[in-house]
């Protein structure tokens, strides 16, 4: 039981590490939102375990690692995770393609919130480059979903 619950924790830590792992600059533009995807998966699969609160804490850690103002990423992660866990029963029944499209929308929302908050704090200009990760996230979603579900079933995480 204890070991199974810790898998959620490990996967979230892995998500944070994948967000900050160095990548070659041209590929960096397409870095998928690992942390958001993992949080979305857990919010859909186990909404009683992973929720807005966990998203807030994970976002705060991301803020410290990214050097952005504290609270930017916790704000931006909490909103999509809220939408996911409020509609988890519907989203579970969607086909994989529909889910991926929903992930695209949620990821776009996440990036727009981050952009908007950073714009309020420091003032930056919008560029479509900021939105490339949404597409990468959409493409990654089916594989990540399959992987995490396999782990969740094998380890009986509840």
């Amino acid at each position: 039981m204890r070991a199974n619950k810790s898998f959620i924790f490990i996967s979230i830590v892995m998500g944070v590490i994948l967000q900050i792992i160095p990548m070659p600059p041209p590929m960096d533009l397409y870095r998928p939102d690992w942390l958001l995807l993992i949080l979305l998966y857990w919010a859909m699969a186990l909404p009683n375990r992973v929720n807005v609160g966990v998203a807030g804490i994970a976002g705060l850690i991301l803020d410290i690692l990214y050097g952005t103002a504290l609270g930017v990423h916790s704000f931006a992660l909490a909103v999509p995770v809220y939408l996911m866990s409020a509609n988890y029963q519907r989203l579970r029944n969607y086909s994989m393609l529909q889910q991926a499209v929903m992930v695209l929308v949620l990821s776009a929302l996440y990036h727009l919130i981050v952009y908007w908050l950073v714009y309020l704090i420091t003032g930056i200009e919008f560029s479509w480059v900021f939105m490339w990760p949404c597409l990468a996230s959409m493409i990654l979603w089916p594989w990540l979903f399959w992987l995490l579900r396999k782990f969740r079933r094998n380890l009986r995480v509840t």
């Binding site: 590490i17 792992i21 160095p22 009683n48 850690i61 050097g67 103002a69 609270g71 930017v72 981050v114």
Partner: protein
């Protein structure tokens, strides 16, 4: 499903709590100035994650360096030896010039420029959010790094320290949109301010009148005003000047002297009154050891 009936506060309440807390954190973080100790503590707390994320890259580096052929090493060695010889020749002339300059300054009763303490730091991580240009280096509070410290590389000014952790710290690059550095043109000492533009190899100069004596190819060096960057280090070269008379000011862009996209080793500078233990003192000469 034993959790049909949710426990605790409802989802919307939780969302509101999280959002209010994050807004509060943002306001406190951006408006309150003296939070840097808290930030230091938090940065140190999560630095293990940074080290883990750095591990694959470090492993690749290590394997690349331990698998290079003997031939390559010899080639590199001879190249570096040549470089040191050439540098030393320049340095010999520079020492004489520096003495001469100091003598002249003494004659003029101007204060003699003191050397700076310096330390070599290594790049640990590059920030990957496109909104800001920051990097993390492997020197921190235990090496006496302080907030606002100038950071250079072998070709020019790179940026300044904005956050200090225990063993690592965060550098704001001169290309960040929130960064500005006072400079002067080395040809005629016109003073101006170089702003970051959000792109790694383009800086911008605002509020320069059309009649200002600036040409493409002019070297901009730090002016030492503002008391953050020491005077006399190359910052950027003017690349493009558009003098459109319908606009109030000329629009000028410059290319940073330092190669901000391929940083590996950096130099931290300390003013003479702070003398860190591990740093090289101004009188130390690196090059003598090799000969």
């Amino acid at each position: 499903m034993n959790e049909v009936f949710a426990r605790g506060p409802s989802l919307l309440t939780r969302l509101c709590i999280v959002l209010m807390l994050s807004v509060g954190a943002m306001v406190i973080d951006t408006k309150v100035e003296n939070l840097s100790t808290l930030r230091t503590y938090l940065t140190s707390l999560v630095s293990p994650l940074q080290y883990i994320a750095d591990l694959p890259g470090a492993l690749l580096d290590w394997s690349a360096s331990s698998l290079t052929s003997r031939q390559k090493m010899l080639e590199e060695n001879s190249r570096l030896t040549n470089q040191i010889t050439l540098m030393n020749e320049k340095l010999q002339r520079f020492v004489v010039l520096e003495d001469e300059n100091n003598n002249l300054r003494e004659l003029l009763d101007a204060p003699v420029r003191e050397g700076m303490y310096r330390m070599i730091a290594e790049l640990m991580a590059v920030d990957n959010n496109p909104y800001s240009h920051q990097i993390v280096i492997n020197k921190g509070a235990i090496h006496d790094v302080y907030k606002g410290q100038p950071v250079l590389d072998d070709t020019g000014v790179v940026g300044q320290i904005v956050e200090v952790g225990t063993t690592n710290s965060r550098v704001l690059l001169i290309s960040d949109i929130t960064h500005a550095i006072p400079v002067r043109v080395s040809r005629n000492n016109i003073r101006m301010i170089v702003n970051g533009g959000g792109s790694l190899n383009e800086l911008s100069l605002n509020h320069i009148v059309h009649s200002g004596d600036i040409q493409e190819g002019d070297l901009l060096i730090s002016s030492g005003l503002g008391n953050i960057f020491p005077a006399g280090y190359p910052v950027a070269t003017i690349t493009n000047i558009v003098r459109d008379e319908s606009l109030p000011f000329a629009s000028i862009t410059a290319k940073p002297s330092a190669q901000l996209d391929r940083i590996k080793y950096l130099l931290l500078l300390w003013p003479p009154d702070i003398a860190p233990v591990d740093a090289l003192s101004p009188s130390d000469e690196l090059t003598r050891e090799g000969s």
